[in-house]
Amino acid sequence: MAKQYETVIGLEVHVELATKTKIFCSCSTQFGGAPNTHTCPVCTGMPGSLPVLNRQVVEYAAAIGLAVNCEITRECKFDRKNYFYPDNPQNYQISQLYLPIAKNGYVEIETGGTRKRVRIHEMHMEEDAGKLIHDEWDDTSLVDYNRSGVPLVEIVSEPDMRSADEVIAYLEKLRLIIQYLGASDCKLQEGSMRADVNLSVREAGKEEFGTRTEMKNLNSFKAIARAVEGERERQIELLEAGKKVIQETRRWDDNKEASYPMRSKEDAKDYRYFPDPDLAPVIIDEEWIERIRAEQPEFRTEKLERYEREYNIPRYDAEIITESKKMADIFEAASTACGKPKKVSNWLMVETMRLLKEHGMEPEELAFSPENLAKLVELTEDGTINSSVAKEVFEKIFSEDVDPEKYVEEKGLKTVSDEGALKEVLQKVIAENPQAVVDYRKGKAKALGSLVGQTMKMMKGKADPALVNQKLKELLDH
C-alpha cells in the first residue's frame, strides 16, 4: 500500500443517569421489571399528560459538564425532536438542540505515554426511548415503555481522535469521571453507556476531512476497537479501489466483525426541532454552579498523585485501585483505619481482583466494608492469624462482609502461639516421620517442607508456618 492514511474519529456518547426516577415523571428508572410496569401517562405519551423536569437530572448533567471542563449554559432549554417510531410514545423526543446545558469542554487522555486533549463540542440532556420486542411467530411487535423517559446525557466530541486506542482511552476517561461523580454506572453491556463512532479517513498530511460514516450498536470496548479497525479498513479499501465513501449510518455486527448500512444521508430525517412549550427554561445560576463545583469529588488523576505521595504505594498499584471509585474508596478508608496502605493495596490487587474475576463481578459491585479489611490486615500483621487463614477469612469478608475478629474467634482460627503445644506436636511429627528426618539431615531441604506440612495439618492450619519452620530446624539441627 503506497499511501498512508490517517483515521479521524469523533464520538457521540449516551450515558443513562443514575436518578431514581425518570426525567419527566416519577416512575422508577430501575433496569428490568415486567414490561410496562414502570410507566405512567407521562412516559407512555398519553393525551393531555405533561412533562415536569427532574431537578436531579440537571444536577448530574451540570456536574458532568463541569468535570469535562465545559461552559454551563445559564439558561438552557428543551427542544422537541420530531420523528415517528413506536418506541417513542409521543413521536417526539424531548432533547436539547438550540441551548444545550454544556458546551466547549475537553478531557485529557493518555495513550502510549503521550497525552492529548479531546475536545467536547457539547453535551445535552434528553429522554430515552422504550424498547421494541419483535414477536417472530406472530409477525407483530410489542413495545415496553419501562425505559421511556429514563434520563440521558449525550456527550458529543470533536473529531479529535486518531486511533482505536485513543477512542478507548477517551471512553475510559469519561466512564471514570462519570462513575466518580456517581452520575451513572456506565455499563456498556446493559446500555447505560452507549457510543456511536463517527469515522473518516484521509491521506496523511491532508487538512481536509474525508467523508464520514456513523457506526451504531457497539456494546463493549472490544467491539468499539474492532469496529474502528474494521471501518478504517473498509474505507481505505474503497478509496484504494477508486470508489467513494458514502455518508451513512452503519450497524456493527460484532459476531461477524462487519458492518451493514442502516440509512444514508439521502434519507436523513428533518427532525423539525423547536422549543418544547410544555417546559420552562432551566435557569442555572452562579450559586447553583458553585455548589455543584464544590461538591465535585477528587478525580482519578489527582488521586493517583496523592496515593503515591500520601500512601507511598507504587504507581502501578494506584492505577489499578483508582480504576474504580468503589475500590479507591475502600482503599482510602481501610488504609486510614489500619495505617498500612501497602498491605491494604495487596489485598485489593491480588485477592480482591481474583475473587472479582471468579465471580464475574465489576469492582463497582464490591460490597464489603473497609473496616473489616482493615481489621484483617491488623490480625495478619500482629500474627493472630497466618496468611493462609487470612485468605480464607478474606473470602468470607468479600462475600458476606463478616467481621474478621468475630469470625476468627468463633471458628477458632487463631494461630497457636503456645510454644509448649507446638513443641508437643513437633515431637510427634518427628517421631512419626523418621525417614523424613533422615533425609533432612542428609541435606534434602525438601524433607523439611514435608514435615512443616505435616505439622500444619495436625494443627489444623492454625500455626504460624514461619515459626514451625524455625522450631523444626532448632529441633532437628541439634
Binding site: 393525551p47 393531555g48 399528560s49 415517528f84 413506536p86 417526539y92 423547536f274 412549550p277 410544555d278
Partner: protein, 491 residues
C-alpha cells in the same frame, strides 16, 4: 322557576339548603339534555348512568358536611378535550373515537373536589381547531338562538349546552378565542384566564403555549365561582403559575368608578360588522355612565396577530398531534402493510381536513430552511404584541373590544374559506399570544336576534378588574334566554 333556568350559584344554594336534592338537579339536567339534544346537539357523550351514581355520592358528601362549596351538586359539562377517567374523551375526532383515559384532567378534578356532577362531554371543533364546531367528527352543534346558525367554536358544545340550559355551567378551552367567541355567539359569559392560571394537565393539547381552560356560564357570578374552583397552582404542569390570590367572587362589585377603559381604534376598521360595532360602543358608553373613563387608542400590530398565531399554533399542534398514530390508543386503520403504511392510513383516515391542514402547515413552518423565516419570526411578533399590550396597560385597566367581526354565521358558510375563517379570530387571538385574561359578556342581540358579545381584556393576573367591569355591566341588563329554550325545545 325550573331547576335548569336557575344560575349555577342559585341552584348550588338551594342544594345546600336541601330545597333541591343533587339527584333532582342532575335529573333535571339530563331531562333538559334529552329535550335539547335533538335540536342543538351540544354533547358527544352524555354520561347518564355515571352522573346519577355520582349524584348519590355527592349528596352523601354534602349531607356529611364534607363538601360545602357554592356549586356542590350542580350539574356541569366539560369540553371533550379534557380527559375524564373511564369516560370516553374524543376531542371530537374519529382518531379518538374509542379512547377512554385512565386519568382525569386536573381542572375536572378541581370541579369534582368541589362536588360537581359531570353529566357529559361537549362537542367541539376537532382538536379545538376551528371557529364553528363544524369540524367535529360527531356532527355539528347548532346555535340555540337560531338552529340554522353555528354556535361558534371551538368550545361550541360547551357554550350551546350552557345557553340551552342543559347544564348549569361548562368548561371550555381557549387557544385563540375558543371560549370567548362561542360565548359571544351563544349569549353566555366565558372567561379565558391568564396563561398559567388553570392547570393544563389532562387537557389534550392543541397549542401548548396558548391553550388555557376556562369557565362558561350564563352570568358573570357563576363564571367567577367556577374560576375559583379551577384556578390553582399545579406541580404537574410546568407552565402553571402560583398566584398571590385566588379570590374571584370578591371582585363582583357593582362599581366601575375610576376604572380606565381603552378601546383600540385599530379594531374598529374595515371588516367589522356595523351592528356589532354599535353594540360594543354603546356597551362601553354604559360603563362610562357608571363611572369608568373610556377612550380610544392605537394598539398597533393588529394585522400581524393572525399570521403569527397560525404559525405558532400549527407548529405546536403538528408536534402535539403526532402521538395519535394508531400504535397505543385510538383509531387504527383496518388494512395496512407495515409500520409506515399503518401510520399513514390511520392518520389519513382518523383526522379531518382542518386538522390535516394545520398539521401540514405546522410541519412546513418547522422544516429545515423555514424555521427562521416563519417560526422564529412569529415568536418575535408574539413578543412585540405582548409589548404593545404592556404599553396599553400602562394607561388603561381594561381594554374593551369586539369578540368577533360579526354575530354567528349560518351553518356551512365558513369552512369553504379557511383564510376568511382564520381572519375572523383577529380580536381574540392576540390575547392568547400575550397570555392575557379575557372575558366575553353578552351585550345585546342583532336584528336577526343573534347575540353579540363584548370582550374585556386585562393585564396578566388582573381577572378581578375584568370581573368587576363585567359584573357592573351585567347589572344594567336582563338575561335573555334563547328561543329554543323558552319554547321547551319545541321551536
Amino acid at each position: 322557576m325550573s331547576i335548569m333556568s336557575m344560575t349555577a350559584v342559585e341552584l348550588g344554594s338551594k342544594i345546600r339548603k336541601r330545597e333541591i336534592s343533587v339527584e333532582e338537579a342532575v335529573k333535571a339536567s339530563l331531562a333538559q339534555v334529552k329535550k335539547m339534544e335533538v335540536k342543538v346537539h351540544s354533547f358527544v357523550t352524555v354520561d347518564e348512568e355515571g352522573a346519577l351514581k355520582r349524584a348519590q355520592k355527592v349528596q352523601k358528601l354534602i349531607d356529611e358536611g364534607l363538601i360545602s362549596g357554592p356549586l356542590a351538586g350542580v350539574p356541569a359539562a366539560v369540553k371533550d378535550n379534557l380527559c375524564t377517567a373511564g369516560l370516553r374523551t374524543t376531542c371530537s375526532s374519529k382518531i379518538l373515537e374509542n379512547f377512554v383515559p385512565s386519568y382525569t384532567a386536573e381542572a375536572v378534578q378541581c370541579l369534582e373536589r368541589s362536588g360537581a356532577v359531570i353529566i357529559g362531554k361537549t362537542n367541539m371543533d376537532e382538536f379545538a381547531m376551528g371557529s364553528t364546531t363544524e369540524t367535529s367528527y360527531y356532527g355539528v352543534t347548532k346555535n340555540p338562538w337560531n338552529l340554522e346558525h353555528v354556535p361558534g367554536g371551538s368550545s361550541g358544545g360547551s357554550c350551546a349546552a350552557a345557553a340551552a340550559e342543559e347544564c348549569s355551567y361548562a368548561l371550555g378551552s381557549d387557544t385563540g378565542g375558543s371560549i370567548r367567541q362561542p360565548s359571544s355567539f351563544c349569549g353566555v359569559v366565558g372567561i379565558k384566564p391568564t396563561y398559567g392560571t388553570v392547570s393544563r394537565y389532562g387537557l389534550i393539547a392543541y397549542a401548548s403555549s396558548l391553550d388555557q381552560i376556562g369557565p362558561i356560564a350564563r352570568n358573570v357570578t357563576d363564571c367567577a365561582a367556577v374560576l375559583e374552583m379551577i384556578a390553582a397552582h399545579d406541580v404537574k404542569d410546568s407552565t402553571s403559575v402560583p398566584r398571590k390570590s385566588y379570590d374571584f367572587m370578591g371582585a363582583l362589585v357593582d362599581d366601575v368608578r375610576g376604572l380606565r377603559i381603552g378601546i383600540p381604534q385599530d379594531y374598529f376598521t374595515e371588516g367589522l360588522d356595523e351592528e356589532v360595532k354599535e353594540h360594543i360602543l354603546s356597551a362601553a358608553k354604559v360603563l362610562e355612565e357608571r363611572g369608568a373613563s373610556v377612550e380610544m387608542f392605537d394598539l398597533s400590530l393588529v394585522q400581524y396577530a393572525v399570521p403569527a398565531y397560525y404559525v405558532i399554533a400549527c407548529a405546536e399542534a403538528g408536534s402535539n398531534l403526532s402521538r395519535f398514530d394508531g400504535v397505543k390508543y385510538g383509531y387504527r386503520a383496518g388494512h395496512y402493510e407495515g409500520l409506515h403504511d399503518m401510520y399513514k392510513r390511520s392518520r389519513s383516515e382518523g383526522f379531518g381536513a382542518e386538522v390535516k391542514r394545520r398539521i401540514m402547515l405546522g410541519s412546513f413552518v418547522l422544516s429545515s430552511g423555514y424555521y427562521d423565516a416563519y417560526y422564529l419570526k412569529a415568536l418575535k411578533t408574539k413578543a412585540l404584541i405582548k409589548q404593545a399590550f404592556d404599553k396599553a396597560f400602562e394607561k388603561y385597566d381594561i381594554i374593551a373590544a369586539p369578540v368577533s367581526p360579526s354575530a354567528a354565521p349560518k351553518l356551512g358558510k365558513s369552512l369553504s374559506d379557511p383564510l376568511k375563517m382564520y381572519l375572523s379570530d383577529i380580536y381574540t387571538i392576540s390575547v392568547n399570544l400575550a397570555g392575557l385574561p379575557g372575558i366575553s359578556i353578552p351585550v345585546g342581540t342583532n336584528k336577526e336576534g343573534l347575540p353579540v358579545g363584548m370582550q374585556l381584556i386585562g393585564n396578566c393576573y388582573e381577572e378581578r378588574k375584568l370581573l368587576r367591569a363585567a359584573y357592573t355591566f351585567e347589572q344594567t341588563r336582563v338575561y335573555e334566554r334563547p328561543g329554543v329554550v323558552k319554547m321547551g325545545g319545541e321551536a
